[in-house]
């Protein structure tokens, strides 16, 4: 359903489908130290890169680099072969990299839900017949089917956040960058969004998921932990959790269930290392 958008562009770009950040630094005007300092990362279609790190570590700065909302002070950001500093391909990059910000209020423009979702593709000249299916698909992906005629300002915060995600999805981006997409969502809304992100990944979308909650991204393909603008850890979630103390030192909050599993192992209860849910831990205690 969410196949990456096929764009006309430099012929080489179709082959090298990646977002590459190479030695990227960003220093904001007047700032004493860089917000990002020589960061190298790769974002791959069909995979989720989780970005963790404390407030002010550079996560949001990195997110804004990926779709050319912000240019690096030094280094390069290359999206499917196109550099973000090249003005000729700026709009192609932005059509390929969907961006969902921290605060959904700032990105809702329509007077009713379906118009808001249609705004992006309509602006890019998507035919009316196709608009309908794009809007329906995007709303279904975030669990807002049935809300088409509702007014966005009457939605709750969590519903607004899901609407913002639907707006980005309607552009059928090849990549989706989400800055704390679940921060305002309740349990149900959050699992709906996480499930939608998993479906998008399975459909080949490359996802950058910024979060404070390792639980949300425990099934990510890769995790990068930022600390004061540098990449302090890069690996898989399991590698990060293999040494809970080291993860804590990086400012990563180790999920309490992982601490419980570790404590149970110390008490001689054989809990598998990949038991990251309450059910699997309880099951391990029961079976042992």
């Amino acid at each position: 359903m969410w196949g990456p958008r096929r764009m006309r562009g430099p012929s080489s770009s179709e082959e090298c489908g990646l977002i590459e950040l190479h030695e990227v630094s960003v220093t904001y005007p007047g700032a004493e130290r860089p917000a990002l300092d020589r960061v190298t990362l790769t974002i791959v279609p069909g995979r989720t890169l989780a970005l963790l790190g404390p407030n002010g570590s550079g996560k949001s700065t990195l997110a804004r680099l990926c779709n050319a909302l912000l240019m690096p002070t030094s280094g390069r950001v290359v999206v499917d072969g196109m550099s973000t500093v090249d003005e000729d391909t700026l709009w192609q990059i932005r059509a390929r990299v969907g961006f969902v910000q921290q605060n959904p209020e700032n990105q809702i423009v329509g007077t009713v839900v379906e118009e808001d979702v249609a705004f992006g593709p309509e602006n890019l000249g998507v035919p009316v017949q196709e608009l309908r299916s794009r809007v329906d698909d995007a709303l279904a992906a975030v669990g807002l089917t049935g809300f088409e005629r509702r007014e966005p300002h009457l939605l709750s915060e969590g519903q607004k956040q899901r609407l913002a995600i639907a707006g980005a999805l309607a552009l059928r981006p090849a990549y989706l960058v989400l800055d704390e997409p679940t921060a305002m969502l309740d349990g149900e809304g959050r699992s709906d969004v996480l499930a939608a992100l998993r479906r998008l990944r399975a459909d080949g979308v490359g996802i950058v998921h910024i979060t404070h909650h390792l639980e949300d991204v425990i099934d990510a393909d890769a995790v990068a932990v930022l600390d004061e603008g540098t990449v302090a850890f890069s690996g898989t979630p399991a590698e990060l959790l293999a040494d809970p103390q080291a993860a804590e030192t990086l400012g990563v909050e180790v999920p309490a269930i992982v601490v419980l599993a570790e404590a149970l192992r110390e008490h001689g209860v054989p809990v598998p290392r990949d038991a990251f849910t309450a059910e699997s831990v309880a099951e391990a205690v029961w079976r042992s």
């Binding site: 404390p54 407030n55 002010g56 921290q102 605060n103 209020e105 009457l154 709750s156 915060e157 969590g158 519903q159 704390e180 921060a183 305002m184 969502l185 309740d186 349990g187 149900e188 809304g189 404070h212 639980e215 400012g251 909050e253 999920p255 309490a256 269930i257 601490v259 419980l260 570790e262 404590a263 149970l264 110390e266 008490h267 001689g268 209860v269 849910t277 309450a278 059910e279 831990v281 309880a282 099951e283 205690v285 029961w286 042992s288």
Partner: protein
């Protein structure tokens, strides 16, 4: 002395074709020392309830009493301090210190600047570093803590917080939780949240809303003894608690349910030993 709401109902756009019933008869009791957790999924009516308690909305029916006066009465002014979900929208002054001092100054407090500096320190924002900064240059986490400081500085006997920890990192959340804990020495605190996990261990009472109605009301012990109505309202309990509840459902003799992972590990391994 208490903030008491009885049979509160509220309907948005009442009398029009667009009316939306948001609250359908909810009771609240909050007094000094309390931490009342108002939990519910999006659209359950919890933010509406908080606005009614703050006197910002007039109930369609039912009453809100603030130490014997109505919440919307002029005498109640400054007695219930509220922090909204989007703190960025609350700032207006040139410096953070002036912004936080506005509340106490407006209420005629002595030494508003001192109250403001203390409130900033209480949420982990050093007044010497942050006091002169423009509130509009703060990061999301700093802005949220600064907005909470603005409410703390008013020294109101009732503190009403809408999602005070959303978007904060671990340190920011700990600072806010500590500030709430200290505030309970002199105030009653109500917290609206869709993610009550971190507030539950210290909560005195839990009110879970579902589609505008009370799904659960009681103490944390009562909640853990019978979590079904709460879970069916779409709310979550901490994974550590859930692991113990799953084990209890399986027939393991759990005894008390613990919030801390280490204590939970002791309970679970004992329960396992007791069974075999």
């Amino acid at each position: 002395m208490a903030l008491v709401a009885a049979n509160l109902c509220y309907t948005y756009a009442a009398g029009t074709a667009y009316e939306v019933p948001a609250l359908l008869g909810v009771d609240v009791h909050l007094e000094c020392g309390d931490l009342l957790v108002i939990a519910g999924t999006t659209g359950s009516g919890k933010s509406t309830l908080l606005r009614l308690l703050a006197g910002l909305l007039q109930p369609s029916s039912g009453t809100v009493g603030l130490d014997g006066s109505s919440a919307s009465d002029r005498r109640s002014r400054g007695r219930a301090a509220m922090v909204f979900q989007n703190p960025e929208s609350q700032f207006f002054a040139e410096s953070l210190l002036a912004d936080v001092a506005f509340g106490p100054r407006n209420l005629g407090a002595q030494e508003p600047a001192r109250l403001a500096a203390e409130a900033l320190a209480a949420v982990g924002l050093d007044p010497d570093t942050f006091g002169d900064r423009s509130p509009f240059t703060l990061s999301g986490g700093e802005a949220r803590r600064a907005a909470i400081a603005g409410a703390l500085a008013m020294r109101a006997p009732y503190l009403l917080l809408d999602e005070p920890t959303a978007g904060l990192d671990g340190r920011g959340r700990r600072d806010v939780l500590l500030a709430i804990g200290r505030e309970r020495d002199r105030a009653g605190v109500a917290v609206v949240t869709h993610d009550p996990e971190e507030f539950l261990p210290s909560a005195t009472r839990v009110l879970a809303l579902r589609a505008g109605e009370t799904a659960f009301a009681g103490s944390v012990d009562e909640l853990l003894a019978n979590p079904s109505p709460y879970l069916e309202a779409g709310l979550r309990l901490p994974e550590v608690v859930m692991a113990q509840l799953f084990a209890r459902d399986r027939g393991l003799p759990m005894g008390a349910i613990e919030f801390e992972p280490e204590a939970a590990a002791v309970r679970l391994s004992h329960a396992r030993g007791a069974r075999s």
